[in-house]
Symmetry: C2
Subunit: 212 residues, 2 copies
């Protein structure tokens, strides 16, 4: 529970395992409060222009406690993003077997999207808007993606490391492009459709030419 790492589970909300001890439940409750309040508060007042103290005041926690749970102001804002990739890595471990890797990556994401619960689908779009409005948050997110990509590569075993690295980069890039298309409306049911479309556009994208 002292993980706090960029990888590794951040909040155990997806598997809904209730911690036995009261202490851990309390701790988890304040973390949840911080996450929820952060997304809404930053959404109202803007991430960059909202001091961390405003969040701490509202949730009534000291700064010391906050930084024991999150490594930075960006960290708490991006919880939804981290949760997605945590689940994705779990899913990938479960289903990686055979066939084209590109399909495996896509299927894993589709499965991941099915696993996320309603609350996540409420917070995730809010988080995406925060990212779109704050370059600092965007940089932090991209960095997180890079670490996830390295983790994916670490768990797979193929002939060419370069080609594996490239494929992972392409898949995550495609995912991010898909999110940009999803962003305006953010209808949960459309996300898998958009992702499939993006993936099926990859080949024509590579052979793209100038307009006539």
């Amino acid at each position: 529970m002292r993980d706090l790492g960029v990888l590794g589970k951040v909040l155990t909300m997806t598997t809904s395992e209730q911690p036995a001890t009261l202490r851990e439940r309390k701790k988890l409750r304040t973390r949840q409060a911080l996450v929820d309040t952060a997304v809404t508060l930053f959404g109202e007042r803007g991430f960059d222009s909202t001091p961390l103290d405003a969040l701490l005041e509202q949730v009534e926690v000291s700064r010391r406690t906050f930084f024991r749970n999150f490594r930075s102001k960006e960290d708490v804002a991006l919880t939804a993003v981290k949760q997605l990739w945590d689940v994705y890595l779990e899913v990938l471990d479960g289903i990686k077997k055979s066939g084209p890797l590109a399909d495996v990556f896509l299927d894993a994401m589709l499965t991941t999207l099915e696993r996320m619960d309603e609350d996540w689908y409420r917070r995730f779009p809010l988080t995406l808007r925060l990212i779109a409005d704050s370059p600092a948050l965007d940089g932090y997110t991209l960095r997180h993606c890079a670490e996830v990509q390295a983790e994916i590569a670490r768990r797979l075993d193929v002939q060419s490391r370069l080609e594996l690295r490239l494929l992972i980069e392409f898949f995550v890039a495609t995912w991010r492009c898909t999110l940009d298309e999803w962003l305006p409306d953010c209808i949960p049911g459309e996300l898998p459709t958009l992702l499939r479309r993006s993936c099926s556009s990859v080949n024509s994208a590579l052979s793209l030419s100038f307009m006539a």
Copy 2:
């Protein structure tokens, strides 16, 4: 000269246009000193563990002056990266005409690499090592890449925006993979070779499968 934007020319070292006025030459001299000292100083003591004051003290500039020239500590460290993309955008404007876009992107980068001077090939590897050692710097770099990508997309005109966006993402991702392969030795002459190899691996990467 008051640009300071993430895009747009940072230092006019590539085209070597001497500013007429003494004032501008002075200013440029301090900027050069800051850039040079930053790369070496951060290289010796580490980016994260070197306070900005150490740099200011060595160059003998006040903090106020520094922040008039650079927008952040990361900014001055990444000058070489920014210069590369500045030149790339220039080159792209000059040669974009017809044929497959993927080839255009690759050719533009090869031309760009030819245009960079010896001093840049000295500073760029140092900068890459700084990035590899500092997550904060890495995030900043990725964010800069994203802005460059948006700028490239803005300057081109093709049928499908999504496919264009994808292709640009893929190219830049390929470039970053190439840099990782180049990093250990950093022999200038090998960079074009490695880049060509990465680009020619794209298709096989997309059809990658698990090991037998």
